[in-house]
Each structure stands twice: as structure tokens, then as C-alpha cells.
């Protein structure tokens, strides 16, 4: 295994042995540990001293089901703290097959506005890098650039790239990965890592793993036994099985249940119910497609080896594809949160976000704050689309929104900024689902639903049932347990959506632990693997503390404490003391 260091100051690279400290790490565990060890926490995120780390999950590149997650890490320009953002993409298994444990992008070219791409290939017995100029792609729609890149390098490559939002240094810019049809639709969206990548003059990483030797196993038999158990659990669970809820309705299947629970943030978090919810639900997407295409259309995989296959496609009246995929978070951010109930308009906005490499969540939050500030009416889909275009074109107003939720609220003097540590909230109201509020407040990542997805027990009834409106200390324990488990899962390369099957089916969890042990030669018990996740959180927390974040940053926005949220008429009432217990007792 290698550590590949890419220095963008002079465009050189070196291959290093993987230090012992990093050998059993991968994905988030590795990106966060490297950032902690090598990046000055006080550095400017877009300056020469930040680094950007790519690492595939530990199980990526193996036959393990749904294990193709790629993590990117760095200091976030959005939160000012550590960031890991992962995506399902063929990039992960390809990198793993080349036995590259991490790609560490360092430095910054002297020439401002000059861009290169890194072409990473397999050279007989080791990976090799060439630096190619990328000026011709600058400022271009990423769909156009990816089509050109696939024309130029062939269909077998995988691409990580940044579009206009990254070039403009937006704090809401993501890094795009290619989907199964070579389009730039899979994103490490959160935290502005696209701007970090672009700040290094790095436009694309084009990866060709042809000829690479593939992954190594410590105990292949144990690994295969574990993978088989996990595959069986995913195939059996009603949520993840073929033609199950995710394969049929996609992640937008959550729209109706979160709305029913009174926790679907609507019109910049003014109420927990959206009258147009059913119209933008996963059920509506399935029905629309059936009507428009004349047949039932089930979802597809975002990345190789995924058995859940939850990515939808939105088709227009005339049968043409508008975009793939509209995730629940994007559907909500650009839909209900902006008071918009027009699926086609939402799909169009998602496509624009992809084309410019904007994070859909942060973009929707920023537009909703602008609506809440009186710039335009809630429900104005045309106006929202125009704002995204202004972001993409770098117009002054677009640049303000490109700065994210908090920057937009600051520019308009609006105290109703639904952000923690500067990061805009995702699609669950923390006043109506207290556990996810604890995760938003305390996560090392800023307001992030994936960091500790307590929605599973609080709403979905997976892994037990917990009252979402209960605001006692048990919510600190619940969020901590989920945050630890997630840090571990984000390191395996598994999609977070295996959680439901491993929470509900004991042999699924057992299988995942066996896979890990088979791969690494470790002897983790389930509890030890979760504790290992806790160690990753400690590393992230230490970075954040050194960067200047304090417990005061582990709080929900003030307006949620005095504004009652209908229909349950609840406020943010988890005490500061309970918030502090999450990391106080880690």
C-alpha cells in the first residue's frame, strides 16, 4: 500500500510507504487522522497550508456489498473545523485496487487561476502520476467537461472534479465524482471541499486503474463469510432488498414520514409540515415516472457493487431525463425548504447544482434564507433557479449565496440562520426530533445528519423506538452512540444505508465486523469497532479545539430556542449540559 503525495506548488509527487499508524485506517478514519497530524488547525482553508486527502474505505475494491464510498478530508472553509465528506463512486474501488491508501494533495501553485489535472495510472508495479494542463475546462459546465474527459481518456477512468463553485472559492462547493454513466452527479458535497481542491489549482483527478493488482486480504475466507452475511441481511431487509423501499422510492421515501412526524423543515424552518410534501415525495417520483415512461422504473446503483440501488432518475413530460439523482436532502432543500412543490423545477435545480458543483443542501438553505429575508417569495421556483444561475456565473449576489447559509443570513441581517458551526442544516427539524438536534449541534462536522443518524430509532423504528420529542439526557447517549458507529462505518467504505439492516438483523452486523477483521487481520468485537469510531471522533474534536471551536459552538441556533415550531409547537430545549455530555463522556 502507498501514500501518494501530490505537491501542487511545483507539481511533483512521491509515493511513500504507509506508516504503521495509518495501516489499519481507511476512509474517514484516515482522512481525519492525516488532517489532524499534518495540517495546522489555524491555517486558512483556502491557503497553501491546508491539505486535501482522498481515501477509499477499508472494504472498497472488494466484493463486499455497497462498499464503494470515497472520503475526502481537509479543513473546511465553511465550518473552520475538520471536514470529511464521502460519496458513493467507482473512484473508491479503483483507488483501492491501485493499493493507494490515501492521496494527499498539498501546497498551492504560485500562478493564481491556473488549473491542472492529475492523471493517475498503473505503471507496471506502482502507481504513476502525470500533471496535465486543465485550462480548457475552466468555467465550464461539469457535464460538458466530464463528457470531454471520457472522450479523451476512455470509459474506464474515474474522475473527481470541481466546477465553477469551487473555482470561485465558494464555501458551498462540493467535489463531484462520476456515476455509473460517467456523469458528475455523485458528490462529496458538504463543507466547501470543492473550494479547497480548486485553491490548489487542481481541477480534476483522472484515475485509470487498468492493470492494477487489486486489494489484499489478511484472511480472505473470514472476509468472504462476513460479506455473505451482510449481503443476505441487505437482501432480506424491507428497506434495502430489491424492489424494497429504497430501490422503489429512493431516499425521497422519507418525505412523507418526516412530514407526518411534523419534522419536515418548511420555508426556512418556519414549520414542520409542508402542504406540498406528497407532491415531492418518493411515491410521487415513482408514479410520475410510471405515467411519463409507461412502465414502472426502479432505481439504480450510484456506484459499483451496490445492492441497495437507491438512485432515481427524474423524467420530464416528454420522456427526456431531467436529472439523476434527486436525493431526499436535495429534494427537501430546494423544495419544501424554499416552499417549492414542483418536482421538475427541483430536478432542474439539482442539475444546475451538479453542473456548477454546488452542494444542494447548502444551496437550498442559502436560497431559503434569502427568501426568508424578503429577496424573493417562498415558492418562487423561477427566482430560485435564477439565483443558482447567479451563483454559477459569479455575480455579486450569487457570490453571497455561494458563501453558504450563514453568509447569506449575515448579508441580509437575518437571525433565522439554520446553521451550526456555519454549516446549513439538512432535512430534519431539530426542534421536533431532539436526537438529530444533538447530532447537528455537537458533530465535529457542523450540522450534519449523516454524522449520527438518530432518525433510525426516532422516526424509522430501526434499532429500537425512541420518542423524537423527548429532550432528556438519553439523547446525548443516543447521538454519541450513533456518532461513534458512523465514524467507524464511514471508515469501512460502506454506505450509511446498510445501518438499517445491521441494526435490525444481528447477523448483518456480525458479517460487517467479520469483513473488517478479514480485511485487516484484526480481532475487533462489535463493541471494539464502535469504540474505534470513538477514537476517530476524538482526533476530529482535537483538531476542532485547536482550530478555536469551543463548546459554545456545539449549540443549535438561538432562534430555534424562542420560536415555536408547528405543528407540535416545540422549541429547541435540549440543555447545554446535555449537549456537552456527548463529547464530555466520549
Amino acid at each position: 500500500m502507498w501514500m501518494l503525495r501530490i505537491d501542487m506548488t511545483d507539481r511533483s509527487y512521491k509515493l511513500e510507504e504507509v506508516a504503521e499508524r495509518y495501516q489499519k485506517l481507511g476512509g474517514r478514519g484516515l482522512t481525519s487522522t492525516l488532517i489532524h497530524d499534518e495540517v495546522d488547525p489555524t491555517c486558512h482553508p483556502l491557503g497553501p497550508n491546508n491539505k486535501l486527502v482522498f481515501s477509499a474505505g477499508i472494504l472498497s475494491g472488494t466484493p463486499s456489498p455497497s462498499s464503494s464510498r470515497i472520503s475526502i478530508g481537509g479543513k473546511s472553509p465553511l465550518t473552520g473545523g475538520i471536514k470529511e465528506s464521502n460519496s458513493g463512486a467507482g473512484f473508491a474501488p479503483a483507488l483501492a485496487r491501485m493499493r493507494v491508501k490515501a492521496v494527499v494533495v498539498e501546497g498551492q501553485p504560485a500562478e493564481k487561476g491556473a488549473y491542472w489535472m492529475v492523471h493517475l495510472t498503473w505503471d507496471g508495479d506502482k502507481p504513476a502520476v502525470e500533471f496535465l494542463p486543465a485550462a480548457e475546462y475552466v468555467g465550464e459546465d461539469l457535464y460538458v467537461s466530464y463528457a470531454k474527459l471520457y472522450e479523451r481518456f476512455g470509459k474506464r477512468v474515474h474522475v473527481a472534479g470541481v466546477g465553477k463553485a469551487g473555482e470561485l472559492g465558494y464555501r458551498n462547493s462540493g467535489v463531484a465524482f462520476d456515476d455509473m454513466r460517467h456523469k458528475p452527479t455523485r458528490f462529496s458535497g458538504r463543507g466547501g471541499l470543492g473550494a479547497v481542491m480548486a485553491s490548489k489549482g487542481l481541477k480534476f483527478v483522472v484515475l485509470n486503474s487498468e492493470g492494477a493488482p487489486g486489494v489484499e486480504y489478511a484472511d480472505k475466507e473470514l472476509f468472504m463469510q462476513g460479506a455473505k452475511k451482510l449481503r443476505a441481511a441487505l437482501g432480506e431487509h424491507a428497506l434495502t432488498k430489491p424492489q424494497g423501499a429504497l430501490n422503489t422510492y429512493g431516499t425521497c421515501v422519507l418525505v412523507n414520514i418526516i412530514n407526518e412526524a411534523g419534522a419536515f423543515p418548511t420555508r426556512n424552518f418556519r414549520t414542520g409540515r409542508f402542504a406540498g410534501a406528497a407532491k415531492i415525495s418518493g411515491e410521487a417520483i415513482f408514479e410520475n415516472n410510471k405515467q411519463r415512461m409507461g412502465k414502472e422504473i426502479y432505481n439504480h446503483a450510484c456506484s459499483p457493487g451496490c445492492v441497495i440501488q437507491c438512485s432515481n432518475t427524474i423524467y420530464a413530460e416528454n420522456g427526456e431525463e431531467i436529472v439523476s439523482c434527486v436525493e431526499y436532502e436535495s429534494d427537501w432543500a430546494l423544495g419544501a425548504n424554499c416552499g417549492i412543490d414542483d418536482l421538475d423545477a427541483i430536478a432542474k435545480m439539482v442539475k444546475l447544482c451538479n453542473a456548477y458543483s454546488l452542494d444542494t443542501i447548502e444551496t437550498g438553505d442559502a436560497i431559503a434564507v434569502a427568501m426568508d429575508s424578503g429577496l424573493l417569495e417562498f415558492g418562487d421556483a423561477e427566482g430560485a433557479i435564477a439565483l443558482i444561475e447567479q451563483m454559477g456565473h459569479g455575480e455579486p449576489l450569487g457570490r453571497i449565496l455561494g458563501g453558504g447559509t450563514q453568509a447569506t443570513a449575515d448579508a441580509f441581517g437575518n437571525p433565522r440562520s439554520p446553521a451550526v458551526k456555519g454549516q446549513g442544516m439538512p432535512a430534519y427539524e431539530p426542534r421536533a426530533i431532539k436526537g438529530i438536534g444533538v447530532t447537528y449541534a455537537t458533530s465535529t462536522m457542523g450540522a450534519d445528519h449523516t454524522a449520527g443518524y438518530t432518525i433510525a430509532p426516532e422516526i424509522a423504528g430501526s434499532g429500537g423506538k425512541v420518542d423524537p420529542l423527548l429532550a432528556d439526557a438519553s439523547k446525548a447517549d443516543l447521538s454519541r452512540a450513533f456518532q461513534k458507529t458512523t465514524a467507524m462505518l464511514d471508515s469501512t467504505g460502506h454506505c450509511l444505508f446498510i445501518s438499517f439492516a445491521i441494526l435490525d438483523i444481528p447477523s448483518g452486523f456480525e458479517g460487517m465486523i467479520e469483513e473488517l477483521n478479514g480485511m485487516l487481520g484484526t480481532h475487533y468485537t462489535g463493541d471494539e469497532a464502535v469504540a474505534w469510531g470513538g477514537e476517530i471522533l476524538k482526533v476530529e474534536r482535537a483538531f476542532n479545539e485547536a482550530a478555536g471551536l469551543t463548546p459554545v459552538d456545539d449549540r443549535l441556533p438561538e432562534f430555534m430556542k424562542y420560536e415555536q415550531l408547528p405543528p407540535h409547537d416545540v422549541v429547541a430545549d435540549v440543555s447545554d449540559e446535555i449537549m456537552d455530555q456527548v463529547y464530555g463522556e466520549l
Binding site: 429504497l246 422510492y249 424509522a460 423504528g461 423524537p468 420529542l469
Partner: protein, 80 residues
């Protein structure tokens, strides 16, 4: 007693034909019926259901319904 019911995702097929997504339909049940009784009344196999809400609060299968309650029933759903 008369209650209103909404069925989602894979349970939509148990709703009267032509029911739009998220649209409640009326059901007549004996007084004091529980959610479990409602599920059986609708012809749904209990293991197909995962969560039931009454007026926005998740309730257990033994919960006794009141006239006019609005019940939303879901199969296992999730994602994020």
C-alpha cells in the same frame, strides 16, 4: 367511529383505488379500536407495517383510536 387513514409507500395498494398520495380516506371502526385492529381491517399483514402516526405522534399497535383521529401508516422506510 369514523377515522381518517393515510397509507404510504408500498402500503398505498391497500387504499381505495384512485386515492392520491398522502390523501386521507375514511374508515369506519368499532369504538375503542386499536391501530392493530385498523391494520387488520385494511387487509394489511401486520409485518408489512413499521410505524403508525396519530396526529403526528408515533403510536404503538395497541394504541386505542378516537373518533376523528388521522392515522398515517408506513412500511419500513429510511435513507437520508
Amino acid at each position: 367511529m369514523r377515522i381518517q387513514v393515510k397509507l404510504y409507500a408500498s402500503l398505498q395498494r391497500y387504499a381505495p383505488e384512485g386515492t392520491a398520495i398522502g390523501q386521507p380516506f375514511a374508515v369506519e371502526l368499532p369504538e375503542q379500536s386499536s391501530i392493530a385492529v385498523l391494520i387488520i381491517h385494511l387487509g394489511i399483514r401486520p409485518r408489512e407495517t413499521k410505524v403508525a402516526f396519530v396526529d403526528g405522534r408515533a403510536r404503538a399497535a395497541i394504541y386505542r383510536l378516537q373518533p376523528g383521529d388521522e392515522v398515517g401508516i408506513f412500511p419500513p422506510v429510511g435513507g437520508g
